[in-house]
Every structure is written in C-alpha cells, then in structure tokens.
Symmetry: C2
Subunit: 359 residues, 2 copies
Amino acid sequence: MDRVVNFSAGPSAMPLEVLMRAQSELVDTNHAGMSVMEMSHRSKAFEDILENTKHLLKKVMSIPENYKILFLQGGASLQFSMIPLNLLQKDHEAAYIITGSWSQKALKEAKKVGQTTVIATSEETQFRNIPDFSQITHKENLSYVHITGNNTIEGTRFTTLPKTDAPIINDWSSGILSEEINVSDYGVIYAGAQKNLGPSGVTVVIIRDDLIGHAPDNLPTMLDYKTHEKSDSLYNTPPTFGIYMIGLMLEWIDSLGGLKEIEKRNREKASLLYEAIDQSSLFYSPVNKEDRSLMNIPFKTDSEETDKAFIEFAASKQLVELKGHRSVGGMRASMYNAMPIEHVERLCSAIREFEEKVK
Amino acid sequence: MDRVVNFSAGPSAMPLEVLMRAQSELVDTNHAGMSVMEMSHRSKAFEDILENTKHLLKKVMSIPENYKILFLQGGASLQFSMIPLNLLQKDHEAAYIITGSWSQKALKEAKKVGQTTVIATSEETQFRNIPDFSQITHKENLSYVHITGNNTIEGTRFTTLPKTDAPIINDWSSGILSEEINVSDYGVIYAGAQKNLGPSGVTVVIIRDDLIGHAPDNLPTMLDYKTHEKSDSLYNTPPTFGIYMIGLMLEWIDSLGGLKEIEKRNREKASLLYEAIDQSSLFYSPVNKEDRSLMNIPFKTDSEETDKAFIEFAASKQLVELKGHRSVGGMRASMYNAMPIEHVERLCSAIREFEEKVK
Ligand SMILES: Cc1ncc(COP(=O)(O)O)c(C=O)c1O
Ligand SMILES: Cc1ncc(COP(=O)(O)O)c(C=O)c1O
Ligand SMILES: [Mg+2]
Ligand SMILES: [Mg+2]
Ligand SMILES: [Mg+2]
Ligand SMILES: [Mg+2]
C-alpha cells in the first residue's frame, strides 16, 4: 500500500529515510554479521550503538556534563512512580502543576508515595490553557515541581517555567526534540520514546546527577535511578533495538541542522494548521492561543456528526489517525518531526475543501 | 559481512527467515501503509498484531483458558519485584529454590517486600546441580515457591518440580519455547523476550487468573498485574515492535511443528555438544549430568589461557560469543531455537580440531 499520512499521537510517523536505513541493515547491522536485535547487550558492537545514541542526544539537546542519560523501560507511566519514589524526600512535598490527564496520572502515583501539593491547575477550563503560576507563594520543603511540558491530549504547551528553587521535573514525552530547551532549567526531563525519539518501549531520562542516589533502601533495584546510572543503562538487558532506532532518529535530526532547524520547521507547520483552523468558520481550536502546542493540535466543529464526517473525508485522502482523544472529542493532528510540511498542507487543503463541500 | 554463528546467551541469534520477513515489511507492515513502529497502539492494525501474538503463544504453549498473557516492560529483573509485590500475602512467606545468580537476585528483591524462606540451594556446589527438594517438609502459609527453571549462567535446568500446594513461579527466561511444559503446573511463568521469544524490551508473563488482583492499594499502577490484565497489556504504550517480532517468532515455531519438534531438535543439538565435550580429554562440563540445560552449555579446560585460546580459535571460524559468564569462567554455548544443528556441528568440530592442535 502507498504510505499514508499518519497523524497519530504516538507511536507515530517516523521519517521514511530512517525506516529505510533500518530496513537496509536489519539483518546485518554495522557489518557485525548479525542483526542489532541479535547482539548481546554486553558486546562491543552494541556498546558502540549505545554510546553513539547517548553522544548524539547530548549533542542535539546540548545536555550539560552534570546530567546523566538513562535508557529505561516502562514508559513515561513508570516515571510517574519513579520520580516520587526517588526524589520525594521525607517531610517534604512534591508540587504538581495540573494541565491535563497525564499530569493527573502523574499526581495520582505521587500521592501513593508521599505528600503532594497542587500549585496550579487548569482543570476548571477543561485544560484549555496553561494555568497562571506566576503568583506561587514561595514554598519551603519542596522536593520538586512537576510539569507536563507538552500536553499531548489537550494540545497545550509551557512557554515559561515556574520560578522555584526546587528542581523542575518535565514530562516531555510529546515535546522532546521538537524545539530547543535549556536542559539546565530542569532537574529531570523524561519521555517515552514513541513520538520524536523512536519506537515505543524505551524511556529516556535526563537527570541532574545530584538528584541520583537518594532512594530508600527497600526500593526495588529496577526503580532506583542509581542502579541504571551506575551501570550505564546496562544493569539488565535494555531495549537494544529501540536504543539503536533512537540513534538513527538523532542522526537524521543532526543531519537536518539540529533542533534549531527542527523547531523552525515545527513552528511553520503548526502556524499553517492553526491558521487554517482559525480562518475556518466551521472548525475551531479549543486551546488558548498563547498556550498552543506545536506537536498536538486538537480542533473541532460544533457537531460530533460533522467531526466524524470530516475524519472519514480525510481518511479517503490517506490522512489518517485524526480522531481526537476520547476525553476531548473532535479531531487531533499530531505533527511530530517526521511529518513534512507538505503533509500538513494536505490537511489544510482537506479542511478547506470539506468546508466548501458542507456549506 | 557473512552471518556469524552467534552463541550469545541473550539477546541472541534469531532465525534468518524471521529477520528477513521483518525486513521485508519494516516500512509497510501488513499493508497498513506504515511501519509497525508507526502504528498507534490503539489502532485496529496493531490490535490485530497483539491478538495474533497472544493467540500463537496460547497455541504453541497450550496455555489453558484460566491463564492470562501479559506483555510488559522492565525485563525479568522487574518481575523479581513484581512477583512478591503482587503475590506475597501478609503473614505468609515466599519460598525460593536457589540455583544460581538469577535466583539469588530474585530472592534479594523479595526480601525487600516481605518474609522469605530458602527451601533448597545448590550454592555449596557452585550451582553445578539442581538441589534435592524432594524432602521439603510441608510448609504452611507459603504464598508461592519460586524457581529458575533454566539457569542461563550455570547451565542447569529443572526436570521435576517441587510438590507443593503453593503456586510455583517459574523464571523461564532462558527456557521458554525450548521444550514442552505443562503450563497448569505453574502459577506464573515469566520471561524476558531476548532469548527464544524475540528482541529485548518485552517481558512475557503467563499468570493464572486467580493470582491477579491481590496487590496492595499503594502499589504503583504500573507494577500491578491487574492494571495490565484489565487493559489487555494496553494500559500504557506497550513495546509494539517487540510484540510484533514475538508474533513472527511464534509463526516460525508453529510452522516447524510446534514445541514437540523444537524440543526434539534442541535435545539433538544439546546431546551433540555434550558428547563432544564429554569425549574430549581437554574440555569438560562442570554441570551435573542429570541437570544439564538444553539451552546454555558451559564448558572449560583446566587452564584459563587455553580457554582464551579456544575462544579465539573459534572466533577465527566465525563462531562467536563463546566466552563464559564472568562468575563461571571458561566457555558457554547458548543454543536457542534459532540455531540449526549444523552450527552446533561446527562448534563440535572446532572442539575436536583445537584439541588435536594443542595436543
Ligand atoms: C505527555 C505524556 N505523558 C505520559 C504518557 C504515557 O506514556 P507511556 O505510554 O510511555 O507510559 C504519554 C503518552 O502518550 C504522554 O503523551
Ligand atoms: C534466567 C534469567 N533470569 C533473569 C534474567 C534477567 O533478565 P532481564 O535482563 O530481562 O531483566 C536473565 C537474563 O538473561 C535470565 O537469563
Ligand atoms: Mg496531557
Ligand atoms: Mg475557526
Ligand atoms: Mg542463573
Ligand atoms: Mg571431557
């Protein structure tokens, strides 16, 4: 079948070049006489792959020396627990800014571990905006402040950060590698790989080294960041193929000019679609303008039936996975790095064409 | 480069047919117009893959209706914790049979959770045999009895099971799919995928349904078997590519005639190598004859230097990854399903040739 245009929120479209490269060496990777999937994780051949992936991530994200890169399993969902289990100190609180279902889930897991406090939430607007957190009274004894930097479901994104002495923890699952950020603004950045990084099954954790090593003794070994830092992500068998694929994705980003160029493209792509939505009298964006995500763009009409008809219309043009998350309804276009502007243009045309048709 | 003969203990050799099949559809899987890596885990296309993999595992292992199949992350190492966290009841003990480093690690994690008891160990023989557990006095209030069905490092394997009313938990990482077993003899069978199942990054858990749902309320959601059972392994984003690869591996096994035929081949392969080792006056097997593994075969000479020379000699014939685990030394040949008997014959020839040479 011809390649479809895939607006899935994750797992999501990958660059055709990257897929073809992986395909070409799937049976014999790096001339090792075996597939990357067959390599012992303790072999030189795989260690080179791991080092290369780490090196490229450091380069592309300009990660400072005092941060460690860990490749873990369990998805961002397991980080919801690992963060408080490792970082929430006795007689301290963990602060959360609640901007959608993912932050709610993160908070729920932290509550099982210790004291939490919500310092801002946009629940009352159904998460259509990033709440104001500028007036946060200075809190004592905060172990950290947790944010969801890009809200995959609600289509919002942080453009400023809370002023706090506590380390900021960023669930950056759907934002990572989409724009330049200053890593040293954060204590921990974590992300499930299945958007801009690679296939599902790898979780990347970028952690400031002073935050490692404070877990309680009875914590399961696998949940302690120290375990993975000490062994360079090789305590047990890591998801080797996923780490290899992340390396290929990063080489591709690097070859395009890095995150500066990627961010420029992503801003152009997002502007194009927001413009088409804003100009339309049929479709609208539910999201507050200043807080709009570059990656995940929900839009709607006033009728569920019309939404459904549009999704079918788009699918007939090979534009697929446009159904919005069930908690929001309508449509959602996720446009990660792999999506070229031409594909966004096709969606914009479909929007205009559909509006003409139903007028 | 030509394909090497890969004796790695895991990740390990995969069937060339399977790799070539995966390669042929890496960019467009099942005519979906996208790679399996790009499919939303909530899409019909991926659900078909998940169902197919589950269906084939059920068929190949003859898994009874009252068992659930879960595809998780974190490797067998995370199961070392999930088992006691889910199954070790208050005022009960978890019993362990200690047959090597993996069972020791499993026990260590259980001790963090609750009361444990070691009902047999072969530590005093450096794990060269499976200890006698026939005289186990009937214990009350056991939540389970944990065994390591095949000991990847030490090269031993269970051929009988303890007589107990408690559910038997089997770390079957390096034994799964290598021989027929009676699933209903066990409460839980778990395995990291990276030997006979597929690539690393997926953990398969086969669990009797009455054992699900007894976890304490404050357990992280991701560590509760109930979470994954309720959502059919789709609570969060599963390792989609790995699940797909396991499906291809199972199709291959099924096409060969299933586990009956696979076990026959594995017995032939193992006999061949044990014979060559036993007949040699230079090499010997450190393992008690009755307890010898079909998958992982350690062997040695009396000199570390000679071991090293043999490993180099073998490598010059493209027989690679023969270095024994550092805790055992010498050599280890892991011969999972993907290894044809011809490759074992090449190792046997190398053994004889080397012995001639150094005589
Ligand atoms: C912002 C965010 N956080 C967390 C998750 C959960 O990630 P995972 O499925 O890897 O557990 C997602 C998944 O899409 C997400 O978008
Ligand atoms: C018997 C056994 N148990 C546990 C493990 C650890 O598995 P993982 O690396 O998936 O955590 C291994 C790894 O090879 C093993 O052979
Ligand atoms: Mg969200
Ligand atoms: Mg509009
Ligand atoms: Mg062992
Ligand atoms: Mg001998």
